[in-house]
Amino acid sequence: MADQKDLDAFVTQVTRPEDFDDFWERVLAGLAEIPLEPSLSPDPMRSNADVDVSRVHYRSLDGLEISGWYCVPTEGDGPFPAVIRFPGYKGEPGLRRDWGRKEVVILTVAVRGKLGSHADFNPGYPGLLTHGIQGRDTYGYKGVISDCSRGVDFLLSRPEVDPQRIFACGSSQGGGLTLITSALRPEIRGGVAGYPFLCCFPESMRMLRSYPYDELNCYARAYPDLVQEMLETLRYYDAVNFAPGIKYPMVVGIALEDEVCPPETSYAAYQRLTGPKELWLFPDSGHGNAHDYPAKETEWLERQIDLTNPGGAND
Protein backbone atom coordinates (compact mmCIF):
# COMPACT_ATOMS: atom_id res chain seq x y z
CA MET A 1 0.00 0.00 0.00
CA ALA A 2 1.18 3.50 -0.81
CA ASP A 3 1.11 6.12 1.94
CA GLN A 4 1.55 9.87 2.01
CA LYS A 5 5.32 9.44 2.30
CA ASP A 6 5.39 7.40 -0.92
CA LEU A 7 3.26 9.98 -2.68
CA ASP A 8 5.47 12.86 -1.59
CA ALA A 9 8.67 11.01 -2.43
CA PHE A 10 7.62 10.23 -5.99
CA VAL A 11 9.10 12.46 -8.68
CA THR A 12 8.06 11.86 -12.26
CA GLN A 13 10.54 12.08 -15.11
CA VAL A 14 7.76 13.26 -17.43
CA THR A 15 8.50 16.64 -18.95
CA ARG A 16 6.37 18.88 -21.10
CA PRO A 17 7.42 19.17 -24.76
CA GLU A 18 8.17 22.73 -25.75
CA ASP A 19 5.59 22.62 -28.51
CA PHE A 20 2.95 20.89 -26.34
CA ASP A 21 0.51 23.81 -26.47
CA ASP A 22 1.10 24.37 -30.18
CA PHE A 23 0.38 20.72 -30.92
CA TRP A 24 -2.94 20.72 -29.10
CA GLU A 25 -3.93 24.13 -30.49
CA ARG A 26 -3.45 22.65 -33.95
CA VAL A 27 -5.53 19.61 -33.06
CA LEU A 28 -8.38 21.75 -31.71
CA ALA A 29 -8.19 24.09 -34.69
CA GLY A 30 -8.46 21.11 -37.04
CA LEU A 31 -11.43 19.82 -35.09
CA ALA A 32 -13.17 23.15 -35.39
CA GLU A 33 -13.11 22.72 -39.17
CA ILE A 34 -15.19 19.53 -38.97
CA PRO A 35 -18.97 20.05 -38.91
CA LEU A 36 -20.34 18.68 -35.61
CA GLU A 37 -23.55 17.32 -37.19
CA PRO A 38 -25.19 16.60 -33.83
CA SER A 39 -28.21 14.33 -33.76
CA LEU A 40 -30.49 12.82 -31.10
CA SER A 41 -32.52 9.61 -31.19
CA PRO A 42 -34.92 9.36 -28.24
CA ASP A 43 -34.88 6.01 -26.43
CA PRO A 44 -38.30 5.46 -24.85
CA MET A 45 -37.25 2.25 -23.10
CA ARG A 46 -34.50 3.99 -21.12
CA SER A 47 -36.53 7.15 -20.45
CA ASN A 48 -38.62 7.48 -17.31
CA ALA A 49 -40.68 10.06 -15.43
CA ASP A 50 -37.56 12.02 -14.45
CA VAL A 51 -35.41 11.80 -17.55
CA ASP A 52 -35.69 11.79 -21.31
CA VAL A 53 -32.91 9.54 -22.58
CA SER A 54 -31.50 9.78 -26.09
CA ARG A 55 -28.72 8.17 -28.04
CA VAL A 56 -26.70 11.04 -29.52
CA HIS A 57 -24.18 11.22 -32.33
CA TYR A 58 -21.70 13.84 -33.48
CA ARG A 59 -18.65 14.09 -35.74
CA SER A 60 -15.10 14.18 -34.46
CA LEU A 61 -11.51 13.84 -35.70
CA ASP A 62 -11.18 12.24 -39.14
CA GLY A 63 -14.94 12.65 -39.54
CA LEU A 64 -15.70 9.67 -37.28
CA GLU A 65 -19.19 9.45 -35.86
CA ILE A 66 -19.13 9.33 -32.06
CA SER A 67 -22.05 8.26 -29.92
CA GLY A 68 -23.16 8.90 -26.37
CA TRP A 69 -26.04 8.72 -23.94
CA TYR A 70 -27.83 11.97 -23.24
CA CYS A 71 -30.15 12.41 -20.27
CA VAL A 72 -32.29 15.55 -19.97
CA PRO A 73 -34.58 16.29 -17.01
CA THR A 74 -38.28 16.12 -17.82
CA GLU A 75 -39.06 18.79 -15.21
CA GLY A 76 -37.61 22.26 -14.72
CA ASP A 77 -37.23 25.32 -16.87
CA GLY A 78 -33.62 25.16 -17.94
CA PRO A 79 -31.19 25.96 -19.25
CA PHE A 80 -29.71 23.23 -17.09
CA PRO A 81 -26.22 22.71 -15.79
CA ALA A 82 -24.52 19.75 -17.46
CA VAL A 83 -22.08 17.03 -16.51
CA ILE A 84 -20.03 15.29 -19.16
CA ARG A 85 -18.82 11.83 -18.12
CA PHE A 86 -15.82 10.24 -19.76
CA PRO A 87 -15.49 6.47 -20.02
CA GLY A 88 -13.03 4.01 -18.56
CA TYR A 89 -10.66 2.04 -20.76
CA LYS A 90 -12.68 -1.08 -21.43
CA GLY A 91 -16.10 -0.53 -19.84
CA GLU A 92 -19.11 0.76 -21.68
CA PRO A 93 -20.23 4.30 -20.82
CA GLY A 94 -23.21 3.90 -18.52
CA LEU A 95 -26.53 5.66 -18.27
CA ARG A 96 -26.87 8.09 -15.36
CA ARG A 97 -30.53 8.86 -14.91
CA ASP A 98 -30.20 9.70 -11.22
CA TRP A 99 -29.26 13.32 -12.06
CA GLY A 100 -32.59 13.95 -13.73
CA ARG A 101 -34.32 14.78 -10.45
CA LYS A 102 -31.51 17.22 -9.69
CA GLU A 103 -32.29 19.08 -12.93
CA VAL A 104 -28.89 18.36 -14.42
CA VAL A 105 -28.18 17.22 -17.99
CA ILE A 106 -25.76 14.28 -18.34
CA LEU A 107 -23.78 13.31 -21.42
CA THR A 108 -21.79 10.07 -21.29
CA VAL A 109 -19.38 9.85 -24.18
CA ALA A 110 -18.58 6.63 -26.04
CA VAL A 111 -15.19 7.60 -27.41
CA ARG A 112 -13.97 5.91 -30.59
CA GLY A 113 -13.45 2.19 -30.09
CA LYS A 114 -16.41 1.90 -27.73
CA LEU A 115 -19.65 0.23 -28.74
CA GLY A 116 -21.53 2.59 -30.98
CA SER A 117 -18.33 4.41 -31.99
CA HIS A 118 -16.22 1.58 -33.34
CA ALA A 119 -17.38 1.11 -36.91
CA ASP A 120 -14.29 2.84 -38.32
CA PHE A 121 -11.88 2.54 -35.39
CA ASN A 122 -11.59 -0.68 -33.43
CA PRO A 123 -8.12 -1.40 -32.06
CA GLY A 124 -9.63 -3.51 -29.27
CA TYR A 125 -8.88 -3.91 -25.57
CA PRO A 126 -6.04 -4.61 -25.18
CA GLY A 127 -4.81 -2.67 -28.17
CA LEU A 128 -5.95 0.94 -27.82
CA LEU A 129 -3.08 2.07 -25.60
CA THR A 130 -0.45 1.27 -28.24
CA HIS A 131 -2.47 1.92 -31.38
CA GLY A 132 -0.49 4.24 -33.64
CA ILE A 133 1.94 5.03 -30.82
CA GLN A 134 4.86 5.48 -33.20
CA GLY A 135 4.00 9.17 -33.60
CA ARG A 136 2.01 11.89 -31.86
CA ASP A 137 -0.11 12.46 -34.97
CA THR A 138 -0.95 8.79 -35.47
CA TYR A 139 -1.62 7.89 -31.84
CA GLY A 140 -5.13 6.57 -31.20
CA TYR A 141 -5.60 8.81 -28.19
CA LYS A 142 -5.46 11.87 -30.43
CA GLY A 143 -8.88 10.76 -31.61
CA VAL A 144 -10.08 9.69 -28.17
CA ILE A 145 -9.24 13.07 -26.65
CA SER A 146 -10.77 14.83 -29.66
CA ASP A 147 -13.99 12.87 -29.08
CA CYS A 148 -14.12 14.16 -25.50
CA SER A 149 -13.54 17.73 -26.63
CA ARG A 150 -16.29 17.36 -29.23
CA GLY A 151 -18.59 16.14 -26.45
CA VAL A 152 -18.19 19.60 -24.93
CA ASP A 153 -19.08 21.08 -28.32
CA PHE A 154 -22.15 18.87 -28.39
CA LEU A 155 -23.29 20.26 -25.03
CA LEU A 156 -22.61 23.80 -26.22
CA SER A 157 -24.82 23.15 -29.24
CA ARG A 158 -27.81 22.31 -27.05
CA PRO A 159 -30.28 25.06 -26.12
CA GLU A 160 -31.25 23.25 -22.88
CA VAL A 161 -27.65 23.43 -21.58
CA ASP A 162 -26.30 26.40 -19.63
CA PRO A 163 -22.88 27.00 -21.27
CA GLN A 164 -21.58 28.61 -18.07
CA ARG A 165 -22.20 25.48 -15.99
CA ILE A 166 -20.55 22.50 -17.64
CA PHE A 167 -18.69 20.06 -15.39
CA ALA A 168 -16.78 16.86 -16.05
CA CYS A 169 -16.06 13.60 -14.31
CA GLY A 170 -14.89 10.05 -14.87
CA SER A 171 -12.87 7.28 -13.34
CA SER A 172 -9.73 5.48 -14.45
CA GLN A 173 -9.30 6.39 -18.14
CA GLY A 174 -12.30 8.64 -17.53
CA GLY A 175 -10.33 10.34 -14.77
CA GLY A 176 -7.39 10.94 -17.08
CA LEU A 177 -9.70 12.23 -19.78
CA THR A 178 -11.36 14.54 -17.24
CA LEU A 179 -8.00 16.15 -16.52
CA ILE A 180 -6.99 16.35 -20.17
CA THR A 181 -10.29 17.67 -21.51
CA SER A 182 -10.64 20.19 -18.69
CA ALA A 183 -7.24 21.60 -19.66
CA LEU A 184 -8.16 21.79 -23.34
CA ARG A 185 -11.65 23.14 -22.82
CA PRO A 186 -12.01 25.99 -20.31
CA GLU A 187 -15.77 25.76 -20.82
CA ILE A 188 -15.53 22.95 -18.23
CA ARG A 189 -15.95 24.78 -14.92
CA GLY A 190 -14.83 21.97 -12.63
CA GLY A 191 -14.34 18.26 -12.48
CA VAL A 192 -13.70 15.09 -10.54
CA ALA A 193 -10.94 12.79 -11.78
CA GLY A 194 -11.12 9.41 -10.06
CA TYR A 195 -8.21 6.93 -10.04
CA PRO A 196 -6.80 8.74 -13.11
CA PHE A 197 -5.16 6.67 -15.82
CA LEU A 198 -2.87 8.24 -18.47
CA CYS A 199 -0.54 9.70 -15.82
CA CYS A 200 3.27 9.31 -15.80
CA PHE A 201 3.47 6.66 -18.52
CA PRO A 202 7.19 5.82 -18.12
CA GLU A 203 6.84 5.16 -14.39
CA SER A 204 3.43 3.50 -14.57
CA MET A 205 4.62 0.90 -17.05
CA ARG A 206 7.53 0.07 -14.77
CA MET A 207 5.61 0.01 -11.48
CA LEU A 208 2.92 -2.48 -12.46
CA ARG A 209 2.41 -5.60 -14.54
CA SER A 210 -1.32 -5.13 -14.94
CA TYR A 211 -3.13 -3.98 -18.05
CA PRO A 212 -3.65 -1.50 -19.64
CA TYR A 213 -0.21 -0.05 -18.75
CA ASP A 214 1.43 -3.41 -19.42
CA GLU A 215 0.44 -3.03 -23.08
CA LEU A 216 3.31 -0.53 -23.23
CA ASN A 217 5.73 -3.15 -21.91
CA CYS A 218 4.45 -5.61 -24.51
CA TYR A 219 5.13 -3.00 -27.18
CA ALA A 220 8.58 -2.30 -25.77
CA ARG A 221 9.45 -6.02 -25.82
CA ALA A 222 8.15 -6.41 -29.37
CA TYR A 223 9.76 -3.24 -30.74
CA PRO A 224 12.79 -2.39 -28.60
CA ASP A 225 14.10 -0.02 -31.25
CA LEU A 226 10.94 2.07 -31.06
CA VAL A 227 10.77 2.63 -27.30
CA GLN A 228 12.12 6.19 -27.47
CA GLU A 229 9.58 7.12 -30.14
CA MET A 230 6.84 5.61 -27.98
CA LEU A 231 7.89 7.59 -24.91
CA GLU A 232 8.19 10.76 -26.97
CA THR A 233 4.63 10.32 -28.27
CA LEU A 234 3.33 9.74 -24.77
CA ARG A 235 4.72 13.08 -23.54
CA TYR A 236 1.99 14.75 -25.62
CA TYR A 237 -0.71 12.61 -24.00
CA ASP A 238 0.35 12.48 -20.37
CA ALA A 239 -2.25 13.97 -18.05
CA VAL A 240 0.46 15.45 -15.82
CA ASN A 241 1.41 17.70 -18.73
CA PHE A 242 -2.19 18.90 -19.07
CA ALA A 243 -2.74 19.49 -15.35
CA PRO A 244 -1.15 22.97 -15.15
CA GLY A 245 -3.58 24.18 -17.81
CA ILE A 246 -6.69 23.50 -15.69
CA LYS A 247 -8.00 26.77 -14.28
CA TYR A 248 -11.21 25.69 -12.58
CA PRO A 249 -11.70 23.51 -9.45
CA MET A 250 -10.55 19.94 -9.84
CA VAL A 251 -10.64 16.91 -7.54
CA VAL A 252 -8.27 13.99 -7.86
CA GLY A 253 -9.41 10.80 -6.12
CA ILE A 254 -6.75 8.20 -5.37
CA ALA A 255 -7.08 4.65 -4.02
CA LEU A 256 -3.91 3.85 -2.14
CA GLU A 257 -4.15 0.15 -3.01
CA ASP A 258 -4.69 0.89 -6.70
CA GLU A 259 -3.27 -2.00 -8.70
CA VAL A 260 -4.09 -0.52 -12.13
CA CYS A 261 -3.11 3.16 -11.88
CA PRO A 262 -0.25 3.65 -9.40
CA PRO A 263 -1.32 6.12 -6.67
CA GLU A 264 1.98 7.99 -6.95
CA THR A 265 1.31 8.80 -10.60
CA SER A 266 -2.18 10.15 -9.91
CA TYR A 267 -0.70 12.23 -7.12
CA ALA A 268 1.86 13.65 -9.53
CA ALA A 269 -1.02 14.91 -11.67
CA TYR A 270 -2.66 16.42 -8.59
CA GLN A 271 0.57 18.18 -7.63
CA ARG A 272 0.83 19.80 -11.04
CA LEU A 273 -2.63 21.34 -10.80
CA THR A 274 -2.25 25.09 -10.41
CA GLY A 275 -5.92 26.03 -9.99
CA PRO A 276 -8.25 25.31 -7.04
CA LYS A 277 -7.87 21.64 -6.17
CA GLU A 278 -8.91 18.95 -3.76
CA LEU A 279 -7.39 15.57 -3.00
CA TRP A 280 -9.33 12.51 -1.88
CA LEU A 281 -7.31 9.58 -0.58
CA PHE A 282 -8.93 6.18 -0.05
CA PRO A 283 -6.57 4.12 2.11
CA ASP A 284 -8.11 0.63 1.96
CA SER A 285 -9.37 0.69 -1.62
CA GLY A 286 -8.24 -0.62 -4.97
CA HIS A 287 -8.83 0.63 -8.48
CA GLY A 288 -12.34 1.99 -8.92
CA ASN A 289 -13.81 0.42 -5.82
CA ALA A 290 -13.67 2.93 -2.96
CA HIS A 291 -17.08 2.54 -1.30
CA ASP A 292 -17.45 6.28 -0.61
CA TYR A 293 -16.28 7.52 -3.99
CA PRO A 294 -19.59 7.65 -5.94
CA ALA A 295 -21.37 9.60 -3.20
CA LYS A 296 -18.48 12.02 -2.77
CA GLU A 297 -18.34 12.62 -6.52
CA THR A 298 -22.07 13.40 -6.62
CA GLU A 299 -21.90 15.68 -3.57
CA TRP A 300 -18.95 17.63 -4.92
CA LEU A 301 -20.50 18.15 -8.34
CA GLU A 302 -23.81 19.19 -6.76
CA ARG A 303 -21.95 21.72 -4.62
CA GLN A 304 -20.12 23.17 -7.62
CA ILE A 305 -23.33 23.32 -9.64
CA ASP A 306 -25.02 25.10 -6.77
CA LEU A 307 -22.12 27.55 -6.40
CA THR A 308 -22.43 28.51 -10.05
CA ASN A 309 -26.20 28.90 -9.91
CA PRO A 310 -26.97 32.48 -11.03
CA GLY A 311 -29.33 32.77 -8.06
CA GLY A 312 -27.09 30.81 -5.71
CA ALA A 313 -24.34 31.35 -3.20
CA ASN A 314 -21.74 32.40 -5.77
CA ASP A 315 -23.86 35.08 -7.36
Binding site: M45, Y125, R209, Y219, A222, G286, N289
Partner: protein
Amino acid sequence: MTEHRTDPDAIWNSLDRQLEQIPLDLEQERDAFYSQPDWDVYRLHYTGLDGYRLFCWLSAPVSADGPVPALLRMPDYGSVHDIVYTPLRSVALVMNATHRGQRQSESVFQANYPGLLTQGIERQDTFAMMRVFADALRAVDALLGQTLAEVGPIALTGSGLGGALSLLAAARRPRITAVAADTPLALGHPELLEHDLAYPLAELTDYLRVYPHRKEAILGSTAPLDPVAAAPKVEAPVLLSLGRRDRGLCPLRIGELLAARLPHCDLRVYDGASEGGGHPHSVIREAWLREQLGVG
Protein backbone atom coordinates in the same frame (compact mmCIF):
# COMPACT_ATOMS: atom_id res chain seq x y z
CA MET B 1 -46.32 -17.43 -11.23
CA THR B 2 -44.64 -20.82 -11.00
CA GLU B 3 -46.97 -22.38 -13.56
CA HIS B 4 -45.00 -20.62 -16.30
CA ARG B 5 -41.67 -21.87 -15.01
CA THR B 6 -40.06 -24.91 -16.48
CA ASP B 7 -37.77 -27.35 -14.68
CA PRO B 8 -34.29 -25.77 -15.03
CA ASP B 9 -32.63 -29.19 -14.93
CA ALA B 10 -34.63 -30.36 -17.93
CA ILE B 11 -33.63 -27.25 -19.87
CA TRP B 12 -29.95 -27.55 -19.04
CA ASN B 13 -29.94 -31.29 -19.71
CA SER B 14 -31.35 -30.55 -23.13
CA LEU B 15 -28.79 -27.79 -23.80
CA ASP B 16 -25.96 -30.05 -22.66
CA ARG B 17 -27.15 -32.79 -25.02
CA GLN B 18 -27.07 -30.23 -27.84
CA LEU B 19 -23.56 -29.14 -26.85
CA GLU B 20 -22.37 -32.75 -26.84
CA GLN B 21 -23.38 -33.05 -30.48
CA ILE B 22 -21.37 -30.01 -31.57
CA PRO B 23 -17.64 -30.51 -32.27
CA LEU B 24 -15.53 -28.11 -30.21
CA ASP B 25 -13.35 -27.43 -33.27
CA LEU B 26 -10.79 -25.68 -31.11
CA GLU B 27 -8.07 -23.49 -32.63
CA GLN B 28 -5.23 -22.18 -30.47
CA GLU B 29 -2.81 -19.55 -31.69
CA ARG B 30 0.08 -18.11 -29.66
CA ASP B 31 0.06 -14.30 -29.37
CA ALA B 32 3.69 -13.26 -29.34
CA PHE B 33 2.88 -9.61 -28.57
CA TYR B 34 1.07 -10.27 -25.29
CA SER B 35 3.14 -13.29 -24.18
CA GLN B 36 5.40 -12.62 -21.22
CA PRO B 37 8.71 -14.06 -20.04
CA ASP B 38 6.87 -16.27 -17.50
CA TRP B 39 3.80 -17.25 -19.50
CA ASP B 40 2.60 -17.60 -23.05
CA VAL B 41 -0.65 -16.01 -24.17
CA TYR B 42 -2.90 -17.77 -26.66
CA ARG B 43 -6.01 -16.79 -28.59
CA LEU B 44 -8.47 -19.66 -28.61
CA HIS B 45 -11.49 -20.06 -30.85
CA TYR B 46 -14.06 -22.82 -30.40
CA THR B 47 -17.65 -23.61 -31.29
CA GLY B 48 -20.64 -23.22 -28.99
CA LEU B 49 -24.38 -23.65 -29.26
CA ASP B 50 -25.87 -23.02 -32.73
CA GLY B 51 -22.39 -23.45 -34.22
CA TYR B 52 -21.39 -20.01 -32.91
CA ARG B 53 -17.64 -19.35 -32.85
CA LEU B 54 -16.43 -18.13 -29.46
CA PHE B 55 -13.16 -16.54 -28.34
CA CYS B 56 -11.08 -16.63 -25.19
CA TRP B 57 -7.67 -15.55 -23.98
CA LEU B 58 -5.66 -18.36 -22.42
CA SER B 59 -2.25 -18.16 -20.81
CA ALA B 60 -0.02 -21.08 -19.91
CA PRO B 61 3.03 -20.99 -17.64
CA VAL B 62 6.26 -21.35 -19.58
CA SER B 63 7.52 -23.97 -17.14
CA ALA B 64 4.38 -26.13 -16.94
CA ASP B 65 5.13 -29.72 -15.97
CA GLY B 66 2.43 -32.31 -15.26
CA PRO B 67 -1.15 -31.36 -14.41
CA VAL B 68 -1.47 -27.59 -14.17
CA PRO B 69 -4.12 -25.89 -12.03
CA ALA B 70 -6.49 -23.71 -13.99
CA LEU B 71 -8.34 -20.48 -13.29
CA LEU B 72 -11.24 -19.65 -15.59
CA ARG B 73 -12.45 -16.09 -15.30
CA MET B 74 -15.98 -15.71 -16.56
CA PRO B 75 -16.93 -12.45 -18.31
CA ASP B 76 -18.49 -9.40 -16.70
CA TYR B 77 -21.56 -7.72 -18.13
CA GLY B 78 -19.91 -5.58 -20.83
CA SER B 79 -18.55 -5.89 -24.33
CA VAL B 80 -14.88 -6.34 -23.42
CA HIS B 81 -13.29 -9.24 -21.57
CA ASP B 82 -9.58 -8.69 -21.82
CA ILE B 83 -6.50 -10.62 -20.72
CA VAL B 84 -6.62 -9.38 -17.08
CA TYR B 85 -3.44 -9.61 -15.09
CA THR B 86 -3.07 -12.03 -12.20
CA PRO B 87 0.17 -13.28 -10.67
CA LEU B 88 -1.35 -16.78 -10.92
CA ARG B 89 -0.46 -16.75 -14.62
CA SER B 90 3.07 -17.89 -13.82
CA VAL B 91 1.82 -21.08 -12.12
CA ALA B 92 -1.61 -21.81 -13.59
CA LEU B 93 -3.51 -21.92 -16.83
CA VAL B 94 -5.59 -18.75 -16.85
CA MET B 95 -8.52 -18.48 -19.22
CA ASN B 96 -10.66 -15.40 -19.85
CA ALA B 97 -13.67 -16.61 -21.78
CA THR B 98 -16.09 -14.42 -23.69
CA HIS B 99 -19.71 -15.09 -24.48
CA ARG B 100 -21.42 -14.46 -27.80
CA GLY B 101 -21.97 -10.80 -28.48
CA GLN B 102 -18.80 -9.66 -26.72
CA ARG B 103 -15.73 -8.34 -28.52
CA GLN B 104 -14.04 -11.06 -30.56
CA SER B 105 -17.14 -13.26 -30.24
CA GLU B 106 -19.30 -10.92 -32.26
CA SER B 107 -19.18 -12.36 -35.76
CA VAL B 108 -22.92 -12.98 -35.86
CA PHE B 109 -24.37 -11.02 -32.99
CA GLN B 110 -23.20 -7.88 -31.18
CA ALA B 111 -24.57 -7.34 -27.68
CA ASN B 112 -25.79 -3.95 -26.55
CA TYR B 113 -25.24 -2.50 -23.08
CA PRO B 114 -27.82 -1.77 -21.87
CA GLY B 115 -29.96 -4.15 -23.88
CA LEU B 116 -28.50 -7.64 -23.71
CA LEU B 117 -30.29 -8.51 -20.48
CA THR B 118 -33.71 -8.33 -22.11
CA GLN B 119 -32.90 -9.28 -25.68
CA GLY B 120 -35.44 -11.86 -26.83
CA ILE B 121 -36.77 -12.20 -23.27
CA GLU B 122 -40.31 -12.73 -24.53
CA ARG B 123 -39.60 -16.43 -24.86
CA GLN B 124 -37.10 -18.76 -23.31
CA ASP B 125 -35.93 -20.09 -26.68
CA THR B 126 -35.22 -16.60 -28.01
CA PHE B 127 -33.72 -15.20 -24.80
CA ALA B 128 -30.11 -14.20 -25.56
CA MET B 129 -28.96 -14.73 -21.98
CA MET B 130 -29.76 -18.46 -22.17
CA ARG B 131 -27.08 -18.79 -24.83
CA VAL B 132 -24.72 -16.57 -22.86
CA PHE B 133 -24.95 -19.08 -20.01
CA ALA B 134 -24.53 -22.00 -22.43
CA ASP B 135 -21.34 -20.30 -23.65
CA ALA B 136 -20.01 -20.40 -20.09
CA LEU B 137 -20.46 -24.18 -20.05
CA ARG B 138 -18.70 -24.33 -23.39
CA ALA B 139 -15.78 -22.37 -21.97
CA VAL B 140 -15.22 -25.13 -19.41
CA ASP B 141 -15.34 -27.67 -22.23
CA ALA B 142 -12.76 -25.62 -24.18
CA LEU B 143 -10.47 -25.43 -21.16
CA LEU B 144 -10.60 -29.21 -20.85
CA GLY B 145 -10.18 -29.58 -24.60
CA GLN B 146 -7.11 -27.40 -25.11
CA THR B 147 -3.81 -29.19 -25.68
CA LEU B 148 -1.33 -26.78 -24.13
CA ALA B 149 -1.24 -28.48 -20.73
CA GLU B 150 -2.90 -31.23 -18.77
CA VAL B 151 -5.51 -29.60 -16.54
CA GLY B 152 -5.37 -30.10 -12.77
CA PRO B 153 -7.83 -28.52 -10.34
CA ILE B 154 -10.12 -25.87 -11.87
CA ALA B 155 -11.36 -22.73 -10.15
CA LEU B 156 -14.01 -20.51 -11.67
CA THR B 157 -14.22 -16.86 -10.80
CA GLY B 158 -16.15 -13.81 -11.87
CA SER B 159 -18.00 -10.75 -10.76
CA GLY B 160 -21.62 -9.84 -11.49
CA LEU B 161 -22.59 -11.80 -14.59
CA GLY B 162 -19.28 -13.63 -14.28
CA GLY B 163 -20.18 -14.70 -10.76
CA ALA B 164 -23.51 -16.14 -11.89
CA LEU B 165 -21.88 -17.88 -14.87
CA SER B 166 -19.31 -19.41 -12.51
CA LEU B 167 -21.97 -20.77 -10.17
CA LEU B 168 -24.12 -22.22 -12.93
CA ALA B 169 -21.14 -23.76 -14.70
CA ALA B 170 -20.02 -25.35 -11.44
CA ALA B 171 -23.54 -26.74 -10.94
CA ARG B 172 -23.38 -28.38 -14.37
CA ARG B 173 -19.72 -29.41 -14.49
CA PRO B 174 -18.63 -31.54 -11.49
CA ARG B 175 -15.00 -31.29 -12.68
CA ILE B 176 -14.90 -27.79 -11.11
CA THR B 177 -12.86 -27.66 -7.88
CA ALA B 178 -13.71 -24.21 -6.51
CA VAL B 179 -15.73 -21.09 -7.25
CA ALA B 180 -15.02 -17.50 -6.20
CA ALA B 181 -18.13 -15.49 -7.10
CA ASP B 182 -18.50 -11.78 -6.37
CA THR B 183 -21.95 -10.13 -6.31
CA PRO B 184 -23.35 -12.74 -8.75
CA LEU B 185 -26.05 -11.45 -11.08
CA ALA B 186 -29.32 -12.58 -9.49
CA LEU B 187 -31.14 -12.78 -12.83
CA GLY B 188 -33.96 -15.32 -12.66
CA HIS B 189 -34.74 -15.21 -8.98
CA PRO B 190 -38.52 -14.90 -8.57
CA GLU B 191 -38.23 -12.14 -5.94
CA LEU B 192 -35.94 -9.98 -8.07
CA LEU B 193 -38.59 -7.74 -9.58
CA GLU B 194 -39.80 -6.77 -6.11
CA HIS B 195 -36.53 -4.94 -5.46
CA ASP B 196 -35.62 -1.34 -6.31
CA LEU B 197 -33.08 -2.21 -9.00
CA ALA B 198 -30.10 -0.35 -10.46
CA TYR B 199 -28.30 -1.15 -13.72
CA PRO B 200 -27.74 -3.68 -15.10
CA LEU B 201 -30.73 -5.40 -13.45
CA ALA B 202 -32.76 -2.21 -13.97
CA GLU B 203 -32.92 -3.23 -17.63
CA LEU B 204 -35.71 -5.55 -16.49
CA THR B 205 -37.72 -2.70 -15.00
CA ASP B 206 -37.08 -0.57 -18.09
CA TYR B 207 -38.53 -3.40 -20.13
CA LEU B 208 -41.54 -3.76 -17.86
CA ARG B 209 -42.27 -0.05 -18.08
CA VAL B 210 -42.70 -0.46 -21.83
CA TYR B 211 -44.26 -3.95 -21.70
CA PRO B 212 -46.06 -4.09 -18.34
CA HIS B 213 -48.00 -7.22 -19.29
CA ARG B 214 -44.85 -9.30 -19.82
CA LYS B 215 -43.85 -9.88 -16.21
CA GLU B 216 -44.72 -13.57 -16.36
CA ALA B 217 -42.73 -13.95 -19.56
CA ILE B 218 -39.69 -12.41 -17.85
CA LEU B 219 -40.04 -14.74 -14.89
CA GLY B 220 -40.41 -17.75 -17.16
CA SER B 221 -37.52 -16.90 -19.47
CA THR B 222 -35.06 -16.05 -16.73
CA ALA B 223 -35.97 -18.87 -14.31
CA PRO B 224 -33.35 -21.36 -15.60
CA LEU B 225 -30.63 -18.79 -14.84
CA ASP B 226 -31.53 -18.37 -11.17
CA PRO B 227 -28.31 -18.93 -9.18
CA VAL B 228 -30.33 -19.69 -6.04
CA ALA B 229 -32.08 -22.57 -7.77
CA ALA B 230 -28.77 -23.92 -9.10
CA ALA B 231 -26.96 -23.55 -5.78
CA PRO B 232 -27.63 -27.00 -4.21
CA LYS B 233 -25.93 -28.66 -7.17
CA VAL B 234 -22.67 -26.77 -6.69
CA GLU B 235 -20.55 -29.36 -4.92
CA ALA B 236 -17.35 -27.31 -5.04
CA PRO B 237 -16.52 -24.91 -2.22
CA VAL B 238 -17.66 -21.36 -2.95
CA LEU B 239 -16.21 -18.07 -1.76
CA LEU B 240 -19.10 -15.65 -2.12
CA SER B 241 -18.90 -11.88 -1.63
CA LEU B 242 -21.85 -9.51 -1.46
CA GLY B 243 -22.31 -5.76 -1.12
CA ARG B 244 -24.79 -4.69 1.51
CA ARG B 245 -26.01 -1.80 -0.67
CA ASP B 246 -25.98 -3.68 -3.97
CA ARG B 247 -29.09 -3.02 -6.09
CA GLY B 248 -27.63 -3.69 -9.53
CA LEU B 249 -26.28 -7.22 -9.39
CA CYS B 250 -27.21 -9.22 -6.32
CA PRO B 251 -29.51 -7.58 -3.76
CA LEU B 252 -28.42 -8.66 -0.30
CA ARG B 253 -31.51 -10.68 0.55
CA ILE B 254 -31.15 -12.82 -2.58
CA GLY B 255 -27.43 -13.19 -1.99
CA GLU B 256 -28.09 -14.48 1.51
CA LEU B 257 -30.63 -16.98 0.16
CA LEU B 258 -28.01 -18.09 -2.33
CA ALA B 259 -25.40 -18.55 0.39
CA ALA B 260 -27.81 -20.58 2.48
CA ARG B 261 -28.45 -23.01 -0.38
CA LEU B 262 -24.82 -23.52 -1.40
CA PRO B 263 -23.54 -26.72 0.27
CA HIS B 264 -20.06 -25.30 0.99
CA CYS B 265 -20.13 -21.50 1.12
CA ASP B 266 -17.77 -19.02 2.72
CA LEU B 267 -19.90 -15.85 2.67
CA ARG B 268 -18.35 -12.41 3.05
CA VAL B 269 -20.65 -9.37 3.22
CA TYR B 270 -19.21 -5.90 2.75
CA ASP B 271 -20.54 -2.36 3.02
CA GLY B 272 -20.20 -1.78 -0.70
CA ALA B 273 -22.74 -1.65 -3.49
CA SER B 274 -22.10 -3.58 -6.71
CA GLU B 275 -18.35 -3.26 -6.16
CA GLY B 276 -18.85 -5.66 -3.25
CA GLY B 277 -15.76 -6.14 -1.13
CA GLY B 278 -13.40 -4.05 -3.23
CA HIS B 279 -9.74 -4.30 -2.38
CA PRO B 280 -9.99 -6.16 0.97
CA HIS B 281 -11.94 -8.94 -0.69
CA SER B 282 -9.58 -9.12 -3.66
CA VAL B 283 -6.77 -9.97 -1.21
CA ILE B 284 -8.92 -12.66 0.44
CA ARG B 285 -9.98 -14.06 -2.94
CA GLU B 286 -6.43 -14.29 -4.24
CA ALA B 287 -5.28 -16.23 -1.15
CA TRP B 288 -8.36 -18.47 -1.24
CA LEU B 289 -7.89 -19.30 -4.92
CA ARG B 290 -4.23 -20.12 -4.34
CA GLU B 291 -5.20 -22.49 -1.55
CA GLN B 292 -7.94 -24.15 -3.59
CA LEU B 293 -5.62 -24.58 -6.58
CA GLY B 294 -2.78 -25.87 -4.43
CA VAL B 295 -0.30 -23.20 -5.50
CA GLY B 296 0.52 -21.80 -2.08
